[in-house]
Point group: D2
Chain length 412, copies 4
Amino acid sequence: MNKLKIINDPVYGFINIPYEILFDIIQHPHFQRLRRIKQLGLTNYVYPGASHTRFDHVLGATHLMNVAIKELRLKNADISDEEHKAALIAILMHDLGHGPFSHTLEHSFVKNISHEEISLAFMKKFNEEMNGELDLGIKIFTDNYPKKFLHSLVSSQLDTDRLDYLRRDSFYTGVTEGNIGSERILKMLRVVNDEIAVEEKGIYSIEKFLGARRIMYWQVYLHKTVVAAEQMLLKTIERARKQSKENGVYATASLSYFFDNNIFSSEIFHSKKLLPSPLDAFAKLDDTDIIVSLKEWSNSEDYVLAELSKRLINRNLFKLEIQNKPYEEAYIHELRKKVSKYFKISEEDSKYFVFSESIKNKAYSTHNLYRINILLKSGKLADIAEASDISNIATLSETVEKYFLCYPKECM
Amino acid sequence: MNKLKIINDPVYGFINIPYEILFDIIQHPHFQRLRRIKQLGLTNYVYPGASHTRFDHVLGATHLMNVAIKELRLKNADISDEEHKAALIAILMHDLGHGPFSHTLEHSFVKNISHEEISLAFMKKFNEEMNGELDLGIKIFTDNYPKKFLHSLVSSQLDTDRLDYLRRDSFYTGVTEGNIGSERILKMLRVVNDEIAVEEKGIYSIEKFLGARRIMYWQVYLHKTVVAAEQMLLKTIERARKQSKENGVYATASLSYFFDNNIFSSEIFHSKKLLPSPLDAFAKLDDTDIIVSLKEWSNSEDYVLAELSKRLINRNLFKLEIQNKPYEEAYIHELRKKVSKYFKISEEDSKYFVFSESIKNKAYSTHNLYRINILLKSGKLADIAEASDISNIATLSETVEKYFLCYPKECM
Amino acid sequence: MNKLKIINDPVYGFINIPYEILFDIIQHPHFQRLRRIKQLGLTNYVYPGASHTRFDHVLGATHLMNVAIKELRLKNADISDEEHKAALIAILMHDLGHGPFSHTLEHSFVKNISHEEISLAFMKKFNEEMNGELDLGIKIFTDNYPKKFLHSLVSSQLDTDRLDYLRRDSFYTGVTEGNIGSERILKMLRVVNDEIAVEEKGIYSIEKFLGARRIMYWQVYLHKTVVAAEQMLLKTIERARKQSKENGVYATASLSYFFDNNIFSSEIFHSKKLLPSPLDAFAKLDDTDIIVSLKEWSNSEDYVLAELSKRLINRNLFKLEIQNKPYEEAYIHELRKKVSKYFKISEEDSKYFVFSESIKNKAYSTHNLYRINILLKSGKLADIAEASDISNIATLSETVEKYFLCYPKECM
Amino acid sequence: MNKLKIINDPVYGFINIPYEILFDIIQHPHFQRLRRIKQLGLTNYVYPGASHTRFDHVLGATHLMNVAIKELRLKNADISDEEHKAALIAILMHDLGHGPFSHTLEHSFVKNISHEEISLAFMKKFNEEMNGELDLGIKIFTDNYPKKFLHSLVSSQLDTDRLDYLRRDSFYTGVTEGNIGSERILKMLRVVNDEIAVEEKGIYSIEKFLGARRIMYWQVYLHKTVVAAEQMLLKTIERARKQSKENGVYATASLSYFFDNNIFSSEIFHSKKLLPSPLDAFAKLDDTDIIVSLKEWSNSEDYVLAELSKRLINRNLFKLEIQNKPYEEAYIHELRKKVSKYFKISEEDSKYFVFSESIKNKAYSTHNLYRINILLKSGKLADIAEASDISNIATLSETVEKYFLCYPKECM
């Protein structure tokens, strides 16, 4: 019985792990894999400090869940020990389904299946190994448990997931404008009519939280150079897969499975025919498979693959422009021609070097099933967008859509 | 000219890069490699937040050098712009010679040659590519420049290297007891008779710095679980190399070079016969080569290699005991017998599972060429160990030696 | 020559005082008086940590001015040493004209004359004593210097005054939502066409700054309990002055001058007839005069004065209600009747116990002479309200007006 | 029922006040008085930020007691709700007996009676008013309760008093070297055999705590300029008292009581003959009485009193020298002669301007009843001085004694 009980986290200090089953989950090889998946993919190309992992994030979110439930109990919310444990399990495992480079490659190896669906598949697998001990946690995760507020602590617009990742990403990137007082917000929560609500005095903290979220989007998650690196990575994997089909390509053992098999639907993902199963193969895959492959591909005979890989490894990134309306097809076409000429590649191949898409962000959704409730002093609940004395929040709930164009700057 | 000028660092905030040549160095692929080498190897197995890299550290140390020189100039130290730039170059490149997992594997792939020697080799290579622009930086790095104090800012008992790594490692591990006010200390430096000295009022800051250093040693660098993981990694590489010679073994392209060639002396390292040269091969190697190989070796037919690799990847570590005197040979032998029986391996092979060595630490050396000087109010210089009003420092300068014994706990 | 050169500030760390004349100003008894005037008056009745003084604030603002000018010079702004020194003088002295309890009693002892006007009177007095050395500082303070941007660093919507007080008040109150990265913002300033501008990448920092400002208004400066205490203090001084005229009342020597003389216009304030002059008398007055008097008044034979004073000293405050429209006269009248009956005082006197007024706040003014400029990447300047990609700022520039009603809760 | 429940503290964030009686105590006028007594007297003359009060400190210490007891209960210490409440009461009231300028004037107005004895007198008075509800708290405070460990949390070498004041004084002075992780240390406490013990892994935290304590002594509490100001204040009060007896002197109402009556023994302090009682008179006295009196005394006809007061108010302090052995009587005598001549005062009076005494500090006492226990992994308890692997602590337990000499520097 040499189990760790307290973890030292740079963000919150000591984190207590209050139930033994949580250790068993953490020590599972499939869970340890999260240590090898960076939380923010290639963001460290802009913010070097951002090398934290999914492992760190889920522990942090679990800590916040623990704090939240303790606070709610102090305020007489009816939460049993079993529910406490289950909510911790649900948040601890909510990101197990992430693959290499998290969101960036979410649809590269496995398609038409979300990371939440894969997380659920892992939870079910663990549940079998652990004799049904995760039943309640799975119900909460999938929102099939009567006390709906427990699910909303796992997934909503004010869940412990966001409260951790905004705080943590701000901490590691050094973008202090995005810093939020996560534990502070949790001290203002209440359960009212089976919903999570924020006490009225917490209204400014929520406003700051939503503002910080918007800031983190534009300064970090959608930072031009970050998006450029991520898009290049997407194109590189796309190219490698193409090469793999046509001419064969180097890949680590874990990676080649996903080049050899098209795991492009839920059916295939869950089918028992393949051996190893897609889930087991997925459990072997992490960031290092991609990096080692990129290093190898740098010497590929396929010029496009080699060039993309070399640039990625050496951080010699494409330029990325952003504007509020779509880029003209003619302009993109012209650029591709230039690139085709400059790099001596076909126009078809130039699409790997010149491409355009849109990115969106909305800081707050008033239509969301789990909107943010304010518990007014009158005892009534109101949506934050209504309760706030000025219309800031309304503004935050407008979707902002932008368009980018990515290309190698030396051809201009 | 799209060069980065300011870097956002979670430890110090904005870091300015004041000379263009520093960017050129940073953007060099050999330098970018440092992004893929963790500063603290496997320490994140105990302190999950500690996933920062050598890249982060050298930028931080460069920032501190910049702050130090600015402060010294304010106090009328004679430092030209060329010397300023050269000192920044020296500290920026001082860790280029680190390989995968930094200190842990420092003598696994390349033997009898220190990481400083490799750093110097890289500096010379860069210097050729950059037409001699690094000449002065190299002189300072190798302590061949008349103004000795510049070298002591790069390497001494109070250099910008230590001032960064203690602060940074404390930040990322969350071991706040090791936190030091690095920039604060720099504000108390002076140049006196070509030596760096600390103003008398800074004596408590230095005492805290030395105390923090000792704390970091015992709580982090020599933490039992960290040492266990590192020792297991050493044994695993040793085994893989043995297998490689005898039966062949999987290795990434970058890694196999070092299994195929015995780079065991300075002569071989610098010889021009091998192609690619050991330096160029070393420049391809990083943490990911080791991790991917470990994942692969988990399925090795060699039981010892597979078991060690599996345990490392899944963080199922050996137990490590520590005591103040060497472990008895008889006791170690007995343990190896048990292990041999339990795992059904030869007694020879059991040496990979049961082993003992010593670890040492001394927080301050009074014999060091670059001891820490205090500038007394009387205008005289004194060694910190004499200037401190109580004998704390004297105590810190005693060497502490301990012995560990490492073995799989299930066989007990 | 035992002059202090570095001050240890809990907010910024070490503060350098770069010119000798700044020490001379700081050591002047009129300046030392600021040590006895709390920055936030009675706010410590809600946020106990908020006991910092005007002295702390002006040193902090001076530090930020120093940082700002250093940064602007790095970016080639044309600022001479004389201008540097003068700008530091201007900000160092900008709050000398504050009296006891800062803003709360700004119009109680001296009427129809702003604290800025008194600051200027002090600056002129110091200037005489210092042989005209403050000439340039006074020009900058009064906006009579051609380089307008220097004045705007002293007083504008993004001046070093605000950048310090928001940061400092947030630090001491513990209202972390109001925390802003003051030094970070300063690193993004530029001088463009004699105006201060913020580089485009700083747009989110400015948004956060304005948001933090609004939060500090509603959570701290206009906090219900703070306003209640301040209003009670105003009423108490008003009553004491009335008593002083009618029946005589205790007052410390410094205070009685302002009860005996009606310093109710600029003319009287600056007239040479009174001895000591109003300025010299004002220079003797600080928070302690009020507190000692309140303690004494607690035993006054005048019931109204005694009750108000006792409640203030013992933090037994009136209740304060807030709403978005004015309170009905009839309702106020009714309350006064109740109070009159409950406390057995005349209806006229009940006005000291029941009163209503309005409070306003606007986070950003687009009409301000010194609006906040953003330096777009195109090289053009734009008002932050136009440059921000969503209309947040526009919202912040709406004035929010609220009404309060204050009364002793026991009579309800 | 408009009672405050959560207090925002800049050091710890939100502080919960878990029992209603704690509010009743806090709202008592005798307790509110602590808002007007600075924690560190005149220390803000060196560290301007240090304007925090006894009120802040006792709330902080109460918070730490609350955290400590929660943690101990989690580890199965047997502590009832009544004991929890009583321990909070004991720490909340432990400093009620402090008078103006805390320790500096502890023996100026009331002699031969410690502040702890006065605290106890207040506790008994409150207990009467509160119908015996403080009985248990008083037992713990006076160490008359069987569970001794509760008293040691109130008063020992690792009590919540020290854990708060070191942390808080470090925070407000900006002397970050003195910063300790108070809440972190509390997480490592255990109750073993009715004693408080620190888990072995906490040994470095304790070492850092003792080191930080020593640093705070020499950098803050015994800082030369702080000691000079404090000694001058002592001399000023001594002189005013002398003048009061001989010629009469200004004093605020609260202060004059202590000039008119010699409260120089426990008997007199507790006697019922005086009206008001010494305790009630003491309850009216705070920092502001001293400051207003100093301002008045600046105009005294007694030159010595006027000069001392003026210098104190305007921060024109005497010089203070420190050495390791006593100053020679002859030297002191010579200085007094010079001063006597320079200021044209009698040699007798020059003793108010030139004086010498000793100051001592010991960071850790091995003889203390409540030494710091370490709970070894073996299950045994050991004194920290024995448990620490190197002899640092032994060093810290040596008493350091120094001698100062104070005089006006202009006469030299």
